[in-house]
Symmetry: C2
């Protein structure tokens, strides 16, 4: 199967539209801002060599959708830049696309373009376009002194777990949350980022953990893909979220836990 044949096969698949031109054309709706995000998923770095292709495709999209969720957006379309070894079969390639497209169709995301190449290992970059009412995107920057700090779900999930992007929750937080970020690099690092952008500090009080997780993993693990957000004290939090602390005065980016300063030791892909 060469590239021309792959494009022909993909065109027949559900969740694919407008591929096979130099660019995809996207018509924005009036009154909306677009959200842009790109994320990499590299064999041996972000996932095990043995991961099944459908899981790789799903995971590559899920990671980028988690960021759309954190901004409170609706996903609209995506592009996939995919490199893989020559030894991969046609079946393997199509399974990867099917994994991605299953999640795409359940979340309203259309695959509109991409690029394929051969390389010695699997490398996926997914680019997602989301949309949000003009001027309403959630950012990391608006947390205020006294805001309560919340997280969805429980933390400390093991490596290679299925990612369920918190899209519905993100949209519920629009107009309510003062700041929001997705937990993709661990609570300590992502909370540091939220606080730094908001020019504030945070006091952590309580960490909801998945059964069997260590505190170390709940604080610094990078596999949670939950939303971390702040609400003014009088705002009622959505169901399924837990208060974990408070925004306090202090050096921008500082995080306190159990009477100690917590270093941003979460997974830095680049450290």
């Amino acid at each position: 199967m060469n590239e021309l044949e792959l494009v022909d096969r993909l065109r027949l698949m559900k969740g694919v539209s407008g591929i096979g031109d130099d660019c995809a054309v996207y018509r924005p709706k009036a009154g909306e801002d677009l959200l842009l995000k790109t994320d990499q998923l590299i064999e041996g770095v972000h996932f095990r060599k043995t991961m099944r292709p459908a899981m790789i495709g799903e995971r590559a999209l899920a990671r980028a959708l988690s960021d759309i969720a954190a901004a409170g957006g609706h996903p609209r379309c995506c592009l996939l830049a995919l490199a893989f070894p020559r030894t991969k079969s046609e079946r393997w390639i199509l399974a990867l696309f099917r994994g991605l497209l299953n999640l795409a169709t359940t979340t309203g995301t259309v695959l509109v373009g991409g690029d394929v190449a051969h390389d010695d290992k699997v490398h996926c970059s997914v680019m997602v376009v989301g949309a949000v009412k003009r001027g309403k995107a959630l950012t990391r920057a608006g947390a205020r002194l006294g805001d309560h700090l919340y997280v969805s779900g429980k933390l400390g999930k093991p490596w290679d777990q299925k990612i369920e992007p918190r899209l519905a929750l993100g949209r519920k937080l629009l107009g309510k949350a003062t700041a929001c970020i997705d937990l993709s690099d661990g609570l300590s690092l992502d909370l540091h980022r939220l606080c730094k952008e908001s020019r504030a500090a945070a006091q952590l009080e309580h960490i909801p953990m998945v059964r069997g997780a260590s505190l170390e993993r709940a604080l610094h693990g990078g596999e949670d893909y939950e939303l971390l957000f702040t609400l003014p004290p009088h705002v009622k939090p959505p169901a399924g979220t837990t208060r974990i602390g408070t925004i306090v005065a202090g050096t921008a980016g500082a995080v306190w836990f159990a009477a100690k300063k917590l270093a941003p030791r979460g997974y830095d892909h680049f450290a």
Copy 2:
């Protein structure tokens, strides 16, 4: 330099805006369609290991901009997904970004986001957003029987040559060209694609070649990054372009040259 420090450094650089959040927010202008494109540049596949970092950054963006040119668009913003070995110095990393940002600023493209990771070789995926007047994007699909076929510049350029995306030419073709594609995989393959999408065939007559190029390279080489386009017979072509053939009746995608059918042997990254 960790990821947090890199983001802080990049924020001070010209051509960078809005980075450091989960998503970049882009506000579309009324009456415009957006053009979306992603392209990969992989060490050892698309460029030599010895290529200087500024050249890698420039080339990664230039390849994606060439597609925006082919659609007749104005580039607006871009995102970079970058993986590189741990051994690369801070200087090397910043040089790569400077190379990309130099081309970004001269073309009006703003770097609004990205993702960085470590890997055993350099891998860049650039995602570009362009804009074009609503409904006016050039596509591969509109060539009609009797249209004249043109190409910008000369073909058969050597490997690793500087890419100059034909943005100004692409915009001049808006409302005039019936079909357009950029030559990134070689004339034989890209003309096949244009004809296939237009459900037509083409007769090649004359190939303008760079000094020293072989006919083989001019027909099948993948380093030209010129625009290939069709105009109705009565439309005067822009300066700097050469007529190379005619759209004719025949099997969709068929290309004829020197009384023989020309196989789409251009560079298929995936074959």
